[in-house]
Amino acid sequence: MTLSILLVVSAALFCIGLLAALSRRHAIYILIGIELMLAAANLNFVAFWRFSSQPQQPTGVMVAIFSIAIAAAEAAVGLALVIAIYRHYRTTNVDKLNQLKG
């Protein structure tokens, strides 16, 4: 197993997350996509730590831990946003949420 393979896998995971964020109309799908992308990034970090020359510096791992924490916070806020939007606009279709246009 080489690092490249691992990176390809995480890239695939990332792109699937991107797919989810770009191709569905429901707001929650975007959040799902974001979570997937974050997970892929975490995987990248840990992979690099694993294959690094200095394993006693667990930098990659620490970043992954922090990333997880932040992802959680972000998910909470994002979901709160979806609920608030749903309450106001009675829709979760992002195509209809287009007031931020030029």
Binding site: C15, L18, L19, R24, G33, V61, I68, A73
Partner: protein, 161 residues
Amino acid sequence: MSIVAFVLISILTLAGALAAATLPKLIHAALSLVVTFLGVAAFFFLLGAEFVGLVQVFVYVGAVAVLIVFTILLTRREATAADKFNWRGAVVAIAVFAGLVWAILKTTSLSIAAPQIPALTVKRIGEVLMTDFVWPLQCVGLLLTAALIGALILVMEEKRQ
């Protein structure tokens, strides 16, 4: 590390992710997401970062996925309706994947085998957390507080006049 485990876990993870992205019903997508997260946790275990894997399970599966399910519940009216698949997004995603893969494969310095490392103990993680990473820790604490408050405010009932 065995190749077999690696392949199996990758397939699991990617399949789950695909399902989460493409299933028409939202609740099915949410549950597939749980599977994906578990697969990622298995990856962490495989890479020797057991602590992260466990944290992944606790936080992601335990908290985030549950949150998502709750939100689906709370925004039910349209959740049952299936929505169309937008193929433009697929094109962009595939393009990005192609680019990334090309970049990775081009970089020959990444084709290295896994070295032997000593096991990463929780003690060690704790040590690093309190010394090298103490300030990020405080920041994350602040951030979590802010997120908590923000989420609360966002979903608070508006005051009736």
